[in-house]
Symmetry: C2
Subunit: 406 residues, 2 copies
């Protein structure tokens, strides 16, 4: 069993890096605060006798030797970056539970057959740089390292510059690190486990995700002198599009979701009819065909609004991540581990994207969920109990032992 109290203490300790007055964390990827928590993680891993290295996209790998060094390591972990209004558990739990697995094995003097590897993936959140789960996607071969290094944030800083700024551009080539299997512990970020009184979610897969960038170009005009019918108001067009996106998601209920997370008027002024608005769209569903249908419906809605309101709506898909089925053998190992520990559990599909979803394309992978309060995540109020975090770490530990000694 893992030491749940020690795990909890590390969660509270690292929450100080980017901690907010409201009890959340604002630790955008590759920010100064992200640099601080990375330094903490490296030191903690080294103190646990692990060998730490960093790849060219900043991902940290900490290795514990196995008896059979010819075997590929059993890897686990998640991410230490957060949303701007992030909580203390999203990503953090998976990395720190991974560290706790290593510490517990050390304490018990347990050696495994395969080596073990705990990983902190760069930019899982996708808030500062798009897409989300960027480093694990490059690891899996969806993007080249150079493509990712050239991505820019809102302040026009590249990933390469941001990595250099905190000293986390490593030498290890991305994707070369050997991994035999990947297990990720995470809070559910949804309401199902809590509602059903289950402690463990055995995650069978992740839903599909599409991200779009949108720009609406109307015409700036005077708020006092421009008659309503003459206006080409970019914000009213966005308003109609946002409500259309909501209707399109509801038309594929209950699984589909659509979100306009960013929207900004260019050169806003109280007495100017908005002429230009930039926005983003996030669309998800567990079925590929539904993603196709929703994209078509969004494009059609944009064209209808643009035509009627005499303005332009440009919608560019910048990312599509297909729905991911996890590896049945790893799923079964998690299920068996949870059963052996006596935890109430259920099979579940992830609504969020995770690094494990990218890893699944290259190595056998699956995930363990634990409940979070009211299903709240990407919010400073995100909350999980010490007991559930400990249960998740136990299941992770037992799963890893099964895989490493199999």
């Amino acid at each position: 069993r893992a030491d749940g109290a020690r795990l909890w203490a590390t969660i509270l300790e690292t929450a100080a890096f980017g901690g907010t007055p409201a009890g959340g964390i604002n630790r955008l990827t590759l920010s100064a605060e992200d640099g601080q928590v990375r330094d903490w993680f490296r030191e903690a891993c080294e103190a646990a006798g692990l060998t730490v290295s960093v790849d060219a996209l900043g991902t940290q790998y900490a290795l514990r030797p196995g008896r059979d060094m010819a075997r590929k390591p059993i890897a686990f972990g998640s991410h230490l970056d957060t949303q701007p209004t992030g909580g203390k558990f999203d990503g953090v739990l998976g990395v720190l539970a991974g560290l706790e697995v290593m510490r517990s094995l050390n304490d018990a003097g347990i050696e495994t057959e395969a080596p073990l590897l705990v990983v902190n993936w760069t930019n899982e959140e996708g808030s500062r740089f798009a897409p989300a789960m960027m480093a694990s996607a490059a690891y899996a071969g969806d993007f080249t390292t150079d493509e990712i290094l050239a991505k820019r944030d809102a302040a026009d800083t590249t990933v390469a510059e941001a990595l250099d700024a905190i000293g986390y551009r490593g030498v290890e080539a991305v994707g070369t690190r050997e991994i035999g299997a990947f297990v990720e512990l995470h809070i559910e970020q949804g309401p199902i486990l809590e509602a059903e009184g289950k402690t463990i979610g055995v995650v069978e897969g992740g839903q599909g995700i599409m991200w779009f960038d949108g720009v609406i170009t109307g015409f700036e005009s005077h708020a006092g002198t421009t008659p309503m019918p003459r206006r080409r108001d970019a914000l009213l067009a966005l308003s109609e599009f946002a409500l259309a996106a909501e209707r399109i998601a509801l038309a594929h209920a209950p699984s589909a979701v659509a979100t306009i997370g960013e929207a900004a008027i260019l050169a806003p002024s109280r007495n100017v009819v908005p002429g230009r608005v930039a926005f983003t769209v996030d669309v998800r569903d567990p079925r590929s065909a539904t993603l196709d249908a929703m994209e078509a419906a969004l494009v059609e809605a944009a064209a209808e609004i643009a035509g009627r309101r005499r303005l332009e709506i440009a919608l560019t898909r910048i990312w599509r991540k297909e729905p991911v089925p996890f590896d049945p053998a790893i799923v079964a190992a998690i299920d068996a581990a949870a059963e052996s520990l006596g935890h109430a559990r259920r099979r579940i599909i992830s609504g969020a994207g995770h690094d494990a979803c990218n890893l699944a394309a290259k190595v056998p992978a699956a995930m363990i969920f634990v409940p979070c309060k009211d299903g709240i995540s990407h919010n400073e109020a995100e909350s999980a109990t010490q007991a559930d975090c400990a249960a998740g770490a136990d299941v992770l530990l037992q799963t890893v032992l099964r895989l490493a000694n199999a």
Copy 2:
């Protein structure tokens, strides 16, 4: 007659202060660029033999003596600040035509009975600091000087700090400057004169204006895991409110207008359901009763949306400017001046707010409009012809002579 070519040259010359690549001007009030154009204006006035002073809110007054210094000066002018996407004429024309009136009288060796005063009012646009027409409102007694000095822009800079930063906090107490009458030349900023082939608009009054600040507080949540019906999405609430505001304005067609000019998500992120949105509303109509009805309808719409979407919508009216009738004698003087010059003209109501609307509460005031292309204003594409600007300056000159020598 005024020298139309010289007036045109000053319009082009001063357009360089804050000039944009698209041919517009971005010269927010009390910015460095505003400081530059103020310096230019002071030097030009001094070179024309005028006595320039600055009041405690930065308004510039340039006096030309009359034969009878016991009479209150006949004042004219407008403003040199612009919108962030402003054009070359809005406000600028009125100030530079005022300077041209002084220069033309000098050239012709004409002395007037009453002294003459050209004025550059601080912050007419209201884009950086609310409300619009701030300094003329303080002049007229709607606000105290201290109230205005304490207003803050989006970067939390006060008017006092901004005045000090460009060295334009004068010593003259606001509202103490004697003014006998006020005449403001301005582009129409609407389509009526152009459509009817008229050169001069004889402005009989200005419509009423209300400004609101709004904040919608929903709840940040995960874009991938939060089912649509559980969301408390502040941007969707704003979208419904913006479309409701459009419907409410259309219900009072053709005169009423309503505009959401600013809207910003707090801590926006692609995969976070927006939890908090701040926005502004600008509402106008020539009738007070319509303003009342529209405010009631907006408040009702906000309550309905907030209740249905389980979030809070706070709507605060920060400014209400009643519809303003201009002084019949000044209106008649403008009409007579336009007639004497043979210009096609019509009576008109201003859709925009103007410093003359504030002055009207304290001194006899009225305005002269000239056409602008396609009625476009608050846009870098704003355009007026040299001939129409010259015609407006001629009418201003003749009106001022009538008033000063009456």
